[in-house]
Symmetry: C2
Subunit: 301 residues, 2 copies
DNA sequence: ATAAGACATGAATATGATTCATACCCATGG
DNA sequence: CCATGGGTATGAATCATATTCATGTCTTAT
């Protein structure tokens, strides 16, 4: 009877009120800012009254918004508790699961977040395979489930998107100072770290740079391993382009500094792929859900 | 973080638990039984445990289902209260709204359900126009909003579906006895009431009858008004084909009896149409929502 | 000013929920 | 025992809607 307040928009509203900004809310929900905005427009439309108080900075709630928020708080707490309850009463999934992932993601992120899952599912035996080519082993049934940033649009596979991976250009602080790196052109003639000698690795960055500002990168140092590249960069060997998640620590500690924040290289989307015929299995669904539930923040995106 | 229990499926589950059967639930929600079934399949999948206990007759809830139901009860009560609250605190919509509807639906159903809305919105002046051709006045802006069973797929119109209208063949009990009406062929040679002399009115019925059982309807009595036709039928003048909602009372009281329940003539779908440019207006949204909220049961479908 | 950050918005797209058509199951009554 | 009817399940097609993409606007800070 009351189609008003049922919709996914409410979850968004609730998260938004907690997050304090559209952008932050979007990050938490692994959506775009635009999606949050659309959702709120619609919700306010349905509610028939403004719920949000957008005065420039800090967004607040209107009186109505506040009341609605309280209701959400209570309602969602109840539902979430019920969900927990359901999960708790489930028998443990059993069996073996062979999980594949890209090397860098797997080693730097994935491994750091699997322990809680393993602990919660002691009957489940999980094996990890980190390697570049993941599709073939998946199709060969050497792996049950892979996490990959390449797109595999096969009808026999079920795809579950996880998060976007953003890239950063970075270098050691001293390196930046030494070469006066302020805009992309400044990279001309400067030592560049790349997976491949040809510099194709950097294309995703170059494509995001306006034509007039294209640097001429002629001093490329090939390093075929991301972690190695990062260490090289920390030592001041050159500038590098890497997934942001792989250098979160280094950025935080100041070992590396991000260059040209205005330039946003193309993102990759990490997804889980699994054979449709096997995606229904309890253990696969469980793991998929767990991986999804790791908030994007955990992945550092 | 918890994508499990957020979905519209929960509302369905909640309604289902109350309704006691998939079909009943579907009716309440103005969906098909199939939709309910799919939703429950998905919900149980997400929950990871069966929630419903389908043992032939009466469907019950499993232990998990019962717990979930309690949570739903509480959560939805909270949210619904919040929704009410929002509505109550809204200033009354003001203005005038010219509502058009088909004659039979308007007079027999619509009018019986508008009073609460009018009372709740004293500042709103609503005029009713019941007539067959509704589209033209709507486009001419002689009407703001029409309820029609004809499809008007114009890009400038916003369509909001309301409910399905089912048709019944019926006649007076004595009439049935007199003519031994058991299967459609028995209508051959029997007096038939129709809006049009040619009997095109009956096509929706004839199309639902298998070829071998087609009656030869050669005694057609033309009556160009549904209500008049109903009175004629009650008096035993002939068999008629009418929207079920228009004879609910007569069927209940036994003045008329439904014939051939196995035959289901094509249904009509009633929808609200309004110009997109005006659909955003508070008063129009309000009325649309109200009409939608009248459960299909109220419409007798 | 100008740049940077945060929100809005329209069109295109992707992800779903819903329907349709049909099959299945189980009681009931010729 | 098999037809019949009421109720549910299911796969494919469809339709609705949420989300993204590509912008635009507005505000605050430099």
């Amino acid at each position: 009877m009351d189609p008003l307040l049922d919709l996914p928009q409410l979850r968004t509203f609730y998260t938004l009120a907690q997050a304090g900004s559209f952008t932050a809310c979007a990050r938490r929900l692994n959506r775009t800012q635009s999606a949050v905005s659309h959702a709120m427009t619609k919700l306010e439309g349905l509610a028939g009254a403004p719920l949000l108080d957008r005065r420039g900075r800090e967004l607040g709630l209107t009186e109505e918004g506040r009341r609605l928020f309280l209701a959400c708080e209570q309602a969602f707490a109840t539902l979430d508790a019920a969900a927990d309850d359901l999960r708790r009463h489930q028998p443990h999934a059993r069996g073996r699961l062979r999980l594949g992932a890209t090397v860098e993601f797997g080693s730097s992120i994935l491994m750091r977040h699997m322990q809680p899952f393993l602990a919660a599912n002691p009957e489940l035996e999980i094996d990890f395979t980190l390697r570049p080519d993941l599709l073939a082993p998946l199709l060969r049934d050497d792996l049950d489930l892979i996490i990959d940033c390449l797109d595999h649009p096969l009808p026999s596979l079920k795809k579950t998107t996880l998060f976007r991976e953003t890239y950063v250009v970075a270098c050691a602080p001293t390196f930046r100072k030494a070469h006066c790196l302020r805009v992309p052109v400044d990279l001309s003639g400067v030592p560049i770290l790349s997976i491949d000698k040809a510099g194709a690795w950097w294309n995703r960055f170059l494509m995001a740079v306006p034509d007039q500002e294209q640097p001429l990168m002629d001093r490329i140092i090939e390093v075929n391993h991301i972690r190695a590249m990062i260490h090289a960069a920390i030592e001041g060997m050159g500038a590098l382009l890497v997934p942001r998640y792989s250098v979160l620590e280094e950025l935080r500690r100041g070992d590396l500094v991000a260059l040209f924040p205005a330039i946003c290289p193309a993102e990759d989307r990490f997804s889980i792929y699994q054979k449709k015929v096997k995606a229904g299995q309890e253990k696969q669904r469980l793991l998929t859900r767990y991986l999804q539930s790791l908030s994007p923040a955990e992945f550092g995106s």
